[in-house]
């Protein structure tokens, strides 16, 4: 009974919120993560005049690295054409934290890279597993997401980025 009661209360609260929340889009949650040098960074500061791609990855995740390496080959053109910014959010913990910067630099990535070792940002965005990609419009609204990566997915992503950059809706 107790559990049912608590569940009902929760459902009520969330239900009310949900019906209101649907009117507006979710924004990027403001959570403390780390820069590659170990200093603090608040995700509320992720801003861009154009679209933003937030990509969750890890140094031990093969499809994540394939995706980000494939995008890296075209990233310069993407930025020139659409003003997009890619935020690569690593979920590596203590075991691999020190490998992030050497990997990123070794591969020559031009992304904004942060690390979420405690999983706070991951939880705040409801990410199950990596790779997980979010697309954010220039008003800071999260408008699209995608879980996993298959070869070629970057083309669909870029089509959406171009639409956003042109001010079109991607519903």
């Amino acid at each position: 009974m107790k559990i049912i009661k608590s569940l009902l209360i929760c459902a009520l609260l969330f239900g009310t919120s949900l019906s209101y929340a649907q009117n507006t889009k979710n924004k990027i949650p403001a959570v403390d993560v780390k820069k590659m040098d170990g200093s603090k960074f608040n995700t509320g500061e992720i801003k861009n005049d154009g679209p933003i791609i937030i990509n969750f990855w890890a140094t031990w995740c093969s499809p994540c690295k394939r995706e980000l390496n494939n995008i890296a080959e075209m990233y310069e053109d993407w930025v020139d054409e659409t003003g997009v910014k890619l935020v690569a959010m690593s979920i590596d913990d203590t075991r691999n934290f020190a490998k992030v910067a050497p990997y990123v630099n070794g591969k020559g990535w031009e992304y904004d890279v942060y690390i979420d070792p405690n999983g706070d940002f991951k939880r705040a965005l409801g990410v199950n597993n990596v790779p997980h990609t979010f697309l954010v419009d220039n008003k800071g609204n999260i408008v699209w997401q995608h879980n996993s990566y298959s070869e070629g997915d970057e083309y669909e992503l870029y089509e959406l980025v171009k639409k956003l950059a042109a001010g079109e809706s991607i519903e």
Binding site: K2, I3, K5, S6, L7, I9, C10, L13, F14, T16, S17, L18, Y20, A21, N23, T24, N26, K27, P29, D37, G38, S39, K40, W60, C61, D93, T94, R95, N96, F97, A98, K99, A101, P102, Y103, N105, G106, K107, G108, P117, N118, G119, R123, A124, L125, G126, V127, N128, N129, H132, Q145, H146, N147, S148, S150, E151, G152, D153, Y155, E156
Partner: protein, 553 residues
């Protein structure tokens, strides 16, 4: 009783929020419309078939499932969330303690200026986690979250203090020990004027944890309060970084260490140097009697307060990752790792038209060099260990990887690894011989066009020990952006027992759209060890149909 009064409190709070006189209906609307709901859902189900050939046991329930739903509500500085978990009954390989359904996670938090407060369940880590880290790995069934209070306060620019107090989760309950802790972190570049633009960046940290558990032991007089402390530094200068932490734990007799009164120690150092096209990491770790749990009688992965990471490469290819992975030895180990990445430029001799990457990694883990003290009836210190000597080999891994794009359509990644695996210690199977294995993997992707591609993995593992040689072939066809199909066969062709030269075939199909993903597979699953972050779960062989649904919203 407790829950009912909480419910009343929640109703009361909700009513009072809505009835505060000077908020009219319109601003209530406004407040609510700022609210955001997020979450995720996962369901894994398996239909089990008995398969005596591979040793897959009969599952009386036939169908087992694990599932959870997370909901987080945020509105400006307020946030609250719940998680419902369901194990009916838990999938094979999950700890037995996961049985039934329930709300396992609920929290509320707010932020006011420099203060941030969380009550209920939370995940937190101090520094590298050597004395405190609570986290979850749902796929492993690992979750040692706190239930209590966390307060963070930013005392001054660059100076943050975090305090925690609580009990820890064990399956659907909480452990009896109470954990209290304090962490102070100081970023010198932020705190000191004129240092903010310096090329040298320094972060200092210090933390302490104390646990309480009543002594009800009839054999020994046990410390009811056990303290641990740690200090750390993170220094970055241009391309160079060093991150070091030392931890000390007062005497903490437990089931892990055989109830000895020796204090524990750990040292963890990681250094890296990287610039465009080159990266090098050197790391070292020594932990001695540093198992730290909020219940001294707990075992396996239960009620751990701290986190001692494995300093070995986290592999992903099937044969390399799940046959002989290393698991951290909590009672003591000395580990080293070197990791190098180098990029041959486009147009260079080795780089060719598209460039080429090489990665080289070497990792070792050894026992401490210890001398038994034979003082069980006096001081019970147990043993002495020498700081700069190592004992028996636990694990060695030399591996190298070449990544190259051959043309617009073809690219490949080639891996070689040489492993030494002390099965006796790592799997706790006395008398099992150490495994020496050589592994080769070719991973080639052929891209037909923008949407269609085929990825092939061919893997071989050669060893004279254990189950002998293995070969794996994987074909993965993807039709971007929504579909993938995969076929895999693992063949234990080198098993000495010809009856065990078995094919483990498996076919899978996956669909994903937006934040939803559905995967189905049918076939045999080899017994294996699945690890994340050096924490491992042994999964028995099984056969049948598997369905997984995940969603994020």
């Amino acid at each position: 009783m407790k829950n009912i009064s909480l419910t009343k409190l929640a109703i009361g709070l909700t009513i009072s929020i809505f009835s505060i006189s000077n908020i009219n209906a319109q601003s209530v609307d406004q407040i609510l419309s700022n609210g955001e709901v997020r979450g995720n859902f996962q369901l894994d189900m398996q239909y089990y078939q008995e398969d005596s050939l591979i040793g897959a046991q009969d599952v009386p329930e036939k169908i087992l499932s694990n599932g959870f739903l997370n909901l987080v509500y945020t509105n400006g500085p307020f946030s609250m969330g719940v998680r419902y978990e369901s194990y009916l009954n838990a999938l094979l390989g999950f700890p037995d303690g996961y049985k039934g359904n329930g709300l396992t996670y609920r929290f509320a938090s707010f932020q006011k200026k420099r203060l941030s407060v969380t009550v209920g369940n939370f995940y937190e880590q101090f520094g590298n986690g050597l004395i405190f880290r609570t986290y979850e790995e749902r796929g492993l069934g690992y979750d040692n979250m706190m239930d209590g209070v966390r307060v963070k306060y930013s005392l001054a620019r660059g100076l943050t203090v975090t305090g925690v107090t609580g009990v820890q989760r064990i399956f659907f309950e909480y452990g009896e020990g109470i954990v209290r802790g304090l962490d102070v972190e100081l970023s010198l570049n932020e705190a000191i004027n004129g240092f903010s633009e310096s090329k040298t960046r320094i972060i200092l940290g210090a933390s302490g944890i104390s646990k309480y558990q009543a002594d009800q032991d009839s054999r020994y007089v046990l410390p009811e309060n056990v303290g641990a402390g740690a200090g750390r530094i993170n220094l970055t200068h241009g391309y160079f970084n060093v991150n070091a932490e030392y931890a000390y734990k007062a005497n903490d007799p437990s089931a892990d260490n055989g109830y000895i009164y020796k204090p524990g120690e750990a040292l963890f150092v990681q250094t890296s140097y990287s610039r465009k096209g080159f990266g090098l990491v050197l790391a070292a770790k020594r932990n001695d009697n540093m198992s730290f749990r909020s219940d001294r009688t707990a075992d396996q992965q239960n009620l751990l307060i701290n986190y001692l990471p494995a300093l070995t490469k986290q592999h992903t290819y099937n044969l390399l990752a799940t046959l002989y992975p290393y698991a951290v030895q909590l009672n003591g180990e000395v580990a080293y790792q070197a990791d190098l990445i180098y990029k041959f430029d486009k147009g260079s001799l080795l780089g060719g038209k598209y460039g080429m990457d090489i990665q080289v990694n070497y990792a070792t883990a050894n026992n401490l060099d210890t001398t038994h003290l034979n003082d069980e009836l006096t001081k019970r210190q147990g043993y002495e260990s020498k700081w700069f000597e190592v004992g028996e080999v636990y694990f060695k891994d030399f591996n190298t990887q070449l990544t190259k794009k051959f043309s617009k359509k073809v690219k490949g990644r080639f891996t070689y690894a040489n492993l030494v695996y002390n099965k006796d210690v790592i799997e706790g199977k006395p008398g099992e011989p150490t495994v020496y294995a050589n592994i080769g993997i070719a991973d080639v992707t052929y891209k037909f066009n923008m949407r269609n591609s085929l990825r092939t993995e061919a893997q071989v593992l050669f060893t004279e020990q254990d189950q002998g040689d293995w070969a794996t072939l994987l074909l993965e066809y993807s039709y971007s952006p929504h579909w993938f199909f995969a076929l895999m066969d693992q063949y234990n062709y080198g098993n000495e027992d010809s009856k065990k030269q078995i094919h483990y075939y498996n076919a899978s199909i996956g669909y994903n759209n937006g934040g939803n993903r559905i995967t189905m597979s049918y076939g045999r699953q080899r017994a294996g060890i699945f690890c994340v972050g050096g924490v491992c779960r042994v999964v028995p062989a099984s056969s049948g149909l598997y369905l997984s649904i995940t969603s994020s919203f």
